[in-house]
Structure formats: C-alpha cells, structure tokens
Symmetry: C2
Subunit: 346 residues, 2 copies
DNA sequence: CCGTTGCGTGGAAGCGCTCCCACGAACCGG
DNA sequence: CCGGTTCGTGGGAGCGCTTCCACGCAACGG
C-alpha cells in the first residue's frame, strides 16, 4: 500500500511542471529543459517529443523557478523618479515608452514601471532594484537631488539613463540628445533671420536637459554678440510656458525672438503672444524644442528642434540589454544630434 | 582537511542570503524568515537580533525564491491591448496609471506594464499572464476583438477591467463610469438650454464606452422627441474630432448642439466651429466627456461630463487586490456615476 | 583492433526561500 | 505536583527549474 505523503495541496492544479512534460515526452527533466531552452545538444527525436508534450499539456515554465537559478528575470525597469502628473501626459514619456516596448517586444522581456510617488523617498525604488527583481533599469526624467545614478552604479545594476544624469555621469551609460547644440542652432536660426532681442523660456533648473539648452542659447547669444538677459524658467508644461511668456514680455516688451525649451511651453507662449497682439513670426519669432506632435498643431505651426525620442528610447533600451548581457562593458554614452525643423513660427 | 566542494561561483558575491542573516543573528533560518515576515511567533530577542543582522548585512530577500514557494509575485500587470500612440498621450491613461500606482504604493506591489504591440496578437500577453508572472491583471482600453476577458476568466487569473468588456462581462470584475447616464445627462443639458438640433461625435464603435455614450445620447434624444440622425464617429483623438465636426457641420449645418464623446475630440470640434465662424455656445452649444484637464483649457472652456479616472483606477486596483487575496470571491462591478461640469461651452 | 573524440542523455545538486511539524520550555488550572 | 496548553524554535522538505558531470554509445583515425 502506497504511503500517502502529500503534505500540501498538490501544486496549483492544472499548472503542469517540467517533470510532467519530461514524463509525457519520455525523457529526463534535464533533456526536457534543454529542448525548451533552445535545444542545444538535443536529438531531433527528443526535441519533437518535448515540443509535443509542451503543447498538449499547455506547459509554461515557472518564471520564478527559472529566475532563481539563472539569476535573470527577463524584465527591466523603467524608473521614473518623482513622476508629477506632467510626466505621464508628456509626449516625451509616451514616446519613450513606445520605443522601449518596441525593443523589448523583440526579445520577450517585460517592462516594470517603477514610479516613485511624489514626495516619497527613492529608498523603496532602490530597495526594489537592489534585490535584482529586474535585470536592468532605464531611468528617465531624473532630477538633481536623487543621486540615483550613483546609487545604481554602486549596486552594480546595469542601467542606462535617458538624458545625462547630474552626477555619476561618468559611471553610468546614458543616451541624450545634444541639447546644447540643438538650442544653439535654434537660437542661431533666429539670429539668421534678423532677430536682435532674443529671450528664452528655459526648463526647470534641476534637469540637465533644461540647463544644457539654456547653455546652448547663451553660447549662440554670446557668439552673436547679443545680450543674454531675457531668461525665464518654466517646468515644461504649457501653463508654465504661458506664465513665463507673460513675465518675459512684460519685462522685455522689445523682444523679437523667443527660444523656448519645450514645445509645450512654446504652445503656451504662442497663446500669450496672440493675446498680446504680437504676430508670430513677424513681430516675434518663436522656436521650440521636442517636435513630438504638439509643434505641428500650434498656430502658427512651430519651428522647433526635433529630438527623436522613439529612436533615443530604442537606443537606450538596446544599450541596456547589451549591458545586461555584458555587465562588465564600459558604460557608453550615445549623443544624438538634434535637427531643426522649420515651420511657420520662425 | 576540508574537502573543497564548491562547484559554482559562491552565489553572486555580496548578496547576503537568509542563511547568513540567520547565522549572524544566531538563530535558525526558519526563525529569521518569520522575523522578517511580520514576526509572528518570534521572541523579542530573536526579532531584534534578526533586525540587526538584516541591517548590517544589507539583506534583501530574493523575490524569485520567495515567489517560488509562496506562489505570489507581489506584482500586478496593467494590460493595454493594442496601444496605439493615442493611449499613451491620452490623459485617461495617465490618470489611470496615477491611480494605480497610488494604491500599489501602499502595499509594496509592483506594476508590470504589458503593452501588446499594435498588430501583434495577444498570444504573447496571454502566455505571460498564464504562467503567473503576476498576481493579477488590470486591463484598460480593450477592444471588441480581443476576447481578453474570457481568456483571463478561463485561466483563472484575478483581473479587473477598466470599463465594461465586450464579452465575458459577467465573468470578470470591472469598474466603469455610467456612460449611458453621463451622456444622457449631457444631452439633456443641451435640450434644457433650448437646443433642438443636437448632433453627436461618438467614439470608436469597437469600445463599449463609446457605444454606451452613444446610447445615452440616443435615449435623451428620443425622450425629448428629437431626431437622432446627426452622428459621426471619431477615435477619441483631437484630429478625429476635427474631421468628424467638419463632416457633421457639412451634412447638418443647422445643428445648434453637439454632444462629443471625449474632450479631446470636443477640442478638435471647437477649433472647427471657430473656423466656420460659429459662436459657442450661442450658435451651437458643445458638451464633452472626460474632464481630465483638456476641458479647462479649450476656448471656450468645455462643459463636460466628468469621469473621475483617478478614483476609478484606485477602485479598480483595490478591487483587484481583493480578488488576489480572495480569488474565489464573485466578480464585482463598480459603476461610478459621472457628474456634469458646467463651463462656458454649453 | 583499440584509444579518442563528440554527442545525447539522465542523475543529482543546488538556487534562496517558506512553512509544516516535532520538540522542549514555560505556564496554567485542578 | 502533574497533564495540558501555549509559545518559540530549528530541522528539513520542497517549490520548479537549470546545469554540472559522468556515462554510454557511435564514429573515427591510427
């Protein structure tokens, strides 16, 4: 008489295990495993037996068990430190997500969205990343105060930043558009069309992209011998663009050119300019930054600096996957040249 | 002489295991585990010894190992079948994500974003969900053809739908706004203000929300004894709203009221109406649906039906977590009443 | 003819964790 | 003072998988 030794429920019913596949296929568990994972060193006979068994049983490998031994999870995190509402609705974020999923889809890797809540410390995020719940991390929209780049470098998790991080930029890989060159080019375009009083609406001072664009504007202004005194900061939202434009036009009513660090802010600025009765581009020429859809829909359509977010996200993701596969490789930087897209506003 | 039997690298160096914690704390692995997980049946002495050990070693439990035995992953999926670009930039999606993360943050549960690529079959998604990589699924923005609800009910994965699914609505839980009532109320508001020729821009016919809103419009029109003949369909984007408005005004130049199934489409419609020289609301009153930010920024500001997405997402997430904890509970439906927000456009 | 190679295979050892169970100690009321 | 309860504890099994290793076998060159 067989001793009944089952002490727990017999594993969630209906979920076949590798053992059962092996039994049905008439091979050992080891062979079944090999057959399922690429089929190296497996005879054609065994392979097809396993394939059949997998199909008839509806077998799906248990990812936890697999991950326990392989030490890989086949998932990466997209980290958004302190996501204000802005992040979600920002076309930049949308494009990023699109680019990332496109690449991940090719390799059956999943995306874990890690959103630190506003105000919450990054401790939770770091703890999650530390315990290797994911194979790597893609960090977007980071701010000055979170020293995420350094922390991630410390724990040795493969990671790639979207946009140059404030600190630790030499220790982590990142993909960025050449913000300085982009905004310089934008400014030069205004100079070339004859503007002499050019102001700028910059982004939040705690983001490198914003600072770099501001630097680009300054460079171009200085090269042209123009005074770089008309600066106002926004936070990349449309509303902040309106406010900044209003303040700027009040302080410098003589502006004939406006370099704005994002299209969304530029859209806000255009609205204010229309309100004030300034014709664009005749009275004042405006150039934006991003070209992620908004620029085409403003009136007048916005001349802007295009950053190819989708492509950048793709590059970043591929870079990350490479680093996951090859953790000891040197952190790489990819700097993508932006292009000026001429429309009606300048 | 000790036999050297290490056959593999000694576990990824630096990652302490529960064994080491137990050793340092001077207790057994079982006790250490108990202390770490809530501390039931653990003496104060043991508890603090373990706590200290955890801290000094920087121990973080290996989620794969834990998940292997508990059969839980402490993560849920947010499933977006066929995400066109629209989904990402849609404030609806943004709000949903915000609501979901808020709830998940309370319980240290992670969010896996499952985006079926456009055109790709849902097979991959289903496979992923089948193998219990996540504890549950929240499905948003599903379309008619993916029989996701039924599939998920079949595999028995706890899931909650955002919006009533086309089929299988009786087998899965969902949270929805009362679209019929909402659009009926919107239409009635136009009737009340004296409109007699009321058209509608409906959403895509393969989404229940769109169909329900259309039904609400029809109901109100019929109750008021008005002809429900001016219907045009869009896909919830601003561009489609423009096109639909154009078509509608061409076919029915006498319209004095317009019920639009989303604010984004309404924004497009407003633009077209301005272009055609129709004054809103004097010549034609317009009412939208959503109230997720866009409505406040159109000109004139949009009277609209507010659906509290954040709250809905929260409710849906809580519902999902309940079902994860209590898989045998009956699938619940939460129908949230929308409210009409009166602004300038009607 | 026999070592050598290479290939396909299965046995078995874990991966790091949870949790069942048995065990001893402390505590209780009778 | 003793049987019964409660409590804290550790041993150990096992979750489902990958992978090391040893083994048998056919093919092959000397």
């Amino acid at each position: 008489m067989a001793r009944v030794t089952s002490q727990r429920p017999p594993a969630s019913v209906g979920q076949p295990t590798l053992d059962e596949v092996a039994r049905v296929a008439g091979v050992s568990r080891a062979t079944a495993s090999r057959a399922i994972n690429g089929g190296q060193r497996v005879s054609a006979r065994a392979q097809s037996a396993v394939d059949t068994a997998v199909r008839t049983l509806g077998y799906v490998p248990n990812p936890a068990a697999r991950s326990l031994v392989t030490r890989r999870t086949d998932s990466i995190a997209v980290v958004v430190p302190e996501p204000d509402d802005r992040v979600f609705s920002d076309p930049f974020f949308a494009g990023t997500l699109r680019g990332v999923t496109r690449v991940l889809g090719e390799r059956d890797i999943q995306l874990v969205l890690l959103l630190a809540r506003p105000g919450a410390s990054t401790a939770r995020t770091l703890r999650y990343l530390t315990n290797r719940h994911v194979d790597g991390a893609l960090v977007v929209s980071h701010h000055r105060d979170d020293r995420l780049a350094e922390h991630l470098a410390d724990i040795g998790l493969p990671c790639v930043f979207g946009g140059r991080p404030w600190t630790g930029g030499d220790r982590v890989a990142y993909v960025d558009v050449d913000n300085v060159a982009g905004e310089r080019e934008a400014t030069e375009a205004l100079v070339a069309r004859g503007c002499t009083r050019i102001g700028t609406i910059a982004g939040p001072a705690d983001m490198t992209a914003a600072e770099d664009r501001l630097a680009g504007w300054r460079q171009a202004m200085s090269s042209a011998g123009l005074a770089a005194d008309a600066v106002e900061h926004g936070d990349f939202t449309e509303a902040s663009g309106e406010a900044a434009a209003r303040a700027l036009m009040e302080r410098h009513p003589d502006l004939d050119g406006l370099v704005v660090a994002s299209d969304l802010m530029a859209a806000g600025a255009l609205r204010v300019l229309a309100e004030l009765g300034r014709r664009v581009p005749d009275d004042i020429a405006v150039v934006g930054f991003d070209d992620l859809g908004v620029a085409e829909r403003t009136s007048p359509a916005l001349t802007t600096v295009r950053q190819p977010v989708d492509e950048m996200a793709e590059r970043a993701t591929r870079l990350l996957l490479e680093r996951v596969d090859e953790p000891d490789s040197r952190p790489m930087r990819v700097i993508i040249p932006p292009t000026l897209v001429r429309r009606a506003s300048a």
